[in-house]
Amino acid sequence: LFIFSELDSFSCFFLVFFFWSNSPCLGGSQRAGGMSRSFLTYNIHEGAAEAIVHGYRCGILRTEDYNNISQCDTLEDMKLHLAGTDYGNFLQNETTLSSKVITERALEKLVDEFMELRCNVDQPLGEFLDYITFDYMIGNVLKLISGARSGRETMELLYKCHPLGLFEGIGALTSATSIDDMFETVLIDSPLGKFFQRTERKDFDEFSMEYIRSLLQKNYLEHFYDFCREIGGLTWDVMKTILEFEADRFVITLTRNTYGVKELQKDDRKKLFPAFGLLYDIHDDLAMVDDDDTLKEKLRNFPEYADMLEGGGGIGHEGGSGMSGLEAKFTERAVQLHKNSMAMQFHYGVFYSWVKLKEYEVSNLMWIAECILQSMRHRITEYITIY
């Protein structure tokens, strides 16, 4: 009996091998060029990396942790509590603590974990992870551009860049004097080059900061959306939801931020909207909107967004972590989407959601640390609840 059971495991191997070699016909959804992985073969390539991330999820701070941390009187206490979490002794070599140090070390930990994953994964997951970093690269480049425009010391700005968004030659951006210069010297063959597509022949320097930001964001979202569609499978199902929400959020925020801005023609405004999302059909209408009431009117067919506007639409109404009410609502929804994505398996959205949730966590830590430092205890609970 025993020998037969051993033979059994051998035959299982052969069976698995058989399935594996035939997986394209068995492996479920195979859209667009076979980039997706079937359930059967997914774990061969991405199983380990995904398992690691699911493990990291357990390290995300929970409400009990936040309850404990927000009771602290000093940053030392906070360090003591964090030592009991997944962060461990990440602050053990610091002589003096500040909210900046805590944030930096926490971010450093995230970046270390992310880079370790990045070094150990196959394509197309590697490219997917790169796409996650592009978001931060855009942020960094914008920071440098605004620095260059306002004539600040750019080397100093470099140290304030998000560590996930560093790429080779980003330092050289500081040598350029204009955005066109930056583009032509450095950005053109950096990963961000493709996001600098222009619809019209005009120098970048003529655009406002906000316009460039929106343009980059739009292009980024569209590219990422296309890339996820190319990957297909469950990844596409999950990322589609998340990215469409991101696009809608971007459209609504952009609309609200540009009420009555003279420099932005209505046509141009529409051109900055990412060409997908739940609101895609009413982009034309939204481009015309110039006040909150009309916006609500236009959004009445999209109850979730309308409700968000209804609840916290008032400008100046402060929400958590110093965000406006609407923004807090959006964040809440985003956290929910990311949690849903983390609850599933066999897709890449896990990685995206993990990075995003961790980022929220780091900003929470900063918020709490700041509150402790400035003795703003009554506002300490306004962090973003994750788990």
């Binding site: 009996l1 025993f2 020998i3 404990n68 009771q71 602290c72 009187d73 030392e76 206490d77 003591l80 509590h81 009991g84 053990q92 070599n93 002589t95 080397m155 470099l158 080779e168 030659g169 330092g171 050289a172 951006l173 500081t174 040598s175 350029a176 032509e184 010297t185 450095v186 053109i188």
Partner: protein, 872 residues
Amino acid sequence: HFFALLIGAENKMPEKCSGLWRSQDMTFLQLHIQREAAHDSVLKLGQLGCVMFRDMNVNVSAFQRLFTNDVRRCEDTERRIRYFEDQLKREHAIRPRRAHRSGASDSQAGVETLDSLEPHLESLENELRELSSKWEQLVSQRNSMKEHLEVLIQDPSFFHGDESSERDFSSAVQADEDGGAGMRAGGLRYLTGVIRSDRVALFELLVFRATRGNMFMRTNEAREPFEDPVTGELVKKAVFVVFFSASRAAEKIRKLCESLQASVFPYVIGSPQERQNLEKVHDFLMELETTITGTDNVRAELLFQVEKNVNQWKKTVITEKSVFNVLNMLSFKGQTVVAECWAPEEDVDNIRAALAEAERTSGAQMESIVEATPNHEAPPTYFKTNKFTSVHQSIVESYGIARYKEVNPTSFSVVTFPFLFGVMYGDIGHGLMLTALAIVFIALERRLLSANLNEIIGLVFGGRYVLLLMGLFAIYLGFLYNDFFGMMIAPFGRPFWYFPENYAEAVENCDPGYLVWFGANASLTRGCKVQGGSPYIFGVDADWAETENKLEFMNGLKMKMAVILGVGQMMWGLVLQLLNHLFFMTNAKEKEERDKARHHIWFGWIPEVIFLSCTFGYMCLMILIKWLVDWTARMRADLSPPSLLEAMTNFFLSPGSVLPNKYLYGSDSSQNGFQTFLLLLAFFSVPLMLLPIPILEYMHHKSSSYGQLNEPEHDQEAALHARETSGEGAAKPEQPVVTEEGFDMSEVVIKQVIHTIEYVLGCVSNTASYLRLWALSLAHAELSEVFWNFAWMKPLTWDGGSGLLAFVGWGIWFAVTIGVLGVMESLSAFLHALRLHWVEFQNKFYYGDGVPFVPYDIHHLLSQGLSKGRTF
């Protein structure tokens, strides 16, 4: 004694077993210490290492405790020590030759306390940091000088290029007005500097883009790498010169250089002044070099001082930190400190002595009080082990910690575990290999203990004593199986059995009384006793090696042996269960618990024993009888040996079907009668297992709840009273009233049904599970035989005297023996022996739900802490 207990006689004879058999007697102590003596007392107790403190401030969060600040100070000091260690590591990396100067670094400086250590280390750290920053500054200055030097010593041709282009350059070289920022060479501007080698390509690309391609760049690797002042790494750098035409590009390139951390040096091509510059830089560099050496020496001296003491400091800090952590668990009330702890009963005197010592050293006036107090929590389990038994104990504990005072399976698995391994791995040769390995490990024990072994070797080394026993038992069983690397040997002289080729030969050589001959076609039993031969002394007769039915014979032997061993071990497990019940019965304080244990013996243990012995116990009996019967004589009387498999199947499925010429003992009718009797016993033991316990519990519950209804006030009063008398009773869990609370009949019934089904089916499946002993030993013997014959013997016959094939064949055989049989097979036999103990043996009696005794032991903490941080 046993029967007296069974019928309920109140016989109090406490079983005082300790050591490996039952866990140590534990006692719950309350220590009242004067506040001033608390620190020293805890320290002394930690050095004693036999006290497990109980956290009395569970409800206080970590940062609100009394000594959090001191713990923090310790952590800060630890951080300083880590900084020193980092610095030392760097120092050793840079200048390894100094390492040997300070070989034995454990200086015997007087024991320092945290209070004296802290300011000392703080000043040391500041000094070291200052020195380091000064040193870093100097080194970066030196680097910049060296870079400049690199530019200056470049061969003129570096700036001029090949001959064809030389004309263009040298025609009009002149310095630019703006202080050498961009100098002109033949109408061209240029810039010289030094950049990291890995950034050259990027730099060139960026410059190319910035100047729209109107540039020319040339680089040359620097002679030697530069030391990065911060990280201490060696960085390769390259000298570059960029030629370009547009004056506007100069600023751009300069900024690029800045962003890529390249340094730019003014240089005038062909200028005689550069020669003077070279000398100047050279001189300055020499000066810097002497300053750096000076700083270096001071720093090295300081680090040398640090290195001498750093281990001592570490010990102090680890000790102090652990003391403060324990103090955080105690409760402080005015001038006294109350500590609650578990300790082995036999160590109470030592604890008293340690506390008295602490009083003396701390100069406290009040005497510390040690008093044993009742505690209703389950006491922790503590076995005193030595280096031989500790591995066996840890094997058992990785399944579960023994309940307080229950029988410890380790007492038996010390022998049975290696024995069962040997049953599966029985081979003299392989056993010798294992034993040799274990002996090597044990002989080098002292040296290897201090060495840093890798994970796998460390694991094997940790189990060296188990390995030794495993090897010895493998040799023993190897002799029993008569297997030596898969070959039979005849170590004990002449064989007993004789296997003749033909009948005539048989008649001639065999003892006529023991001649069995079935004719030429019957391949099975053709053996007979050698005339005048004596029985083979030990193990299997070597003559089986050449017979056709060797495999059948060995299979039968091993299979039966496996079952007998298995049933025997399970039976022994049941005996241990009885011992547990008896022990808990004798030591129970309340009548209720005694009754419960008694019920478990009558209606749990007894039917279980009956069931097992009437079914598989009987099977083992039949095996033994069949072995002992003289079949030669009985076959003459026309009685054929019955198949045991058939007999067992019929035992269950069709009782009374033993044929007249196929009985094993007695006669066919007596065997039929006995078997039916056994089957009925086994059958009726099942309801006995299933029904009484739930019924008894239900009845007990009913009667006791009536009792409670009658005098509820009295009970409450008693509970109140108990709470008052027990001091801080609020913190303790309320014990007495809990037992009756959630009585749920259906739960009890379901539990009992599951237990019964599990046991009855378990008897079948566990017995079958023991067949793995046979299966593994068969696989092992077959594999080794095949390897012997095909990897070694076959090439030997093909060899024809050249020796080449024999060489290769032997190599293959040896490699396979080590790899497959030595490593893989032993691992799998180990795992199966583990499983047989964990599942089949221990589920008969072992609760395994105890709490481990983890004493506060400073020596242990120190050995852990020091081995972790020993990096230099």
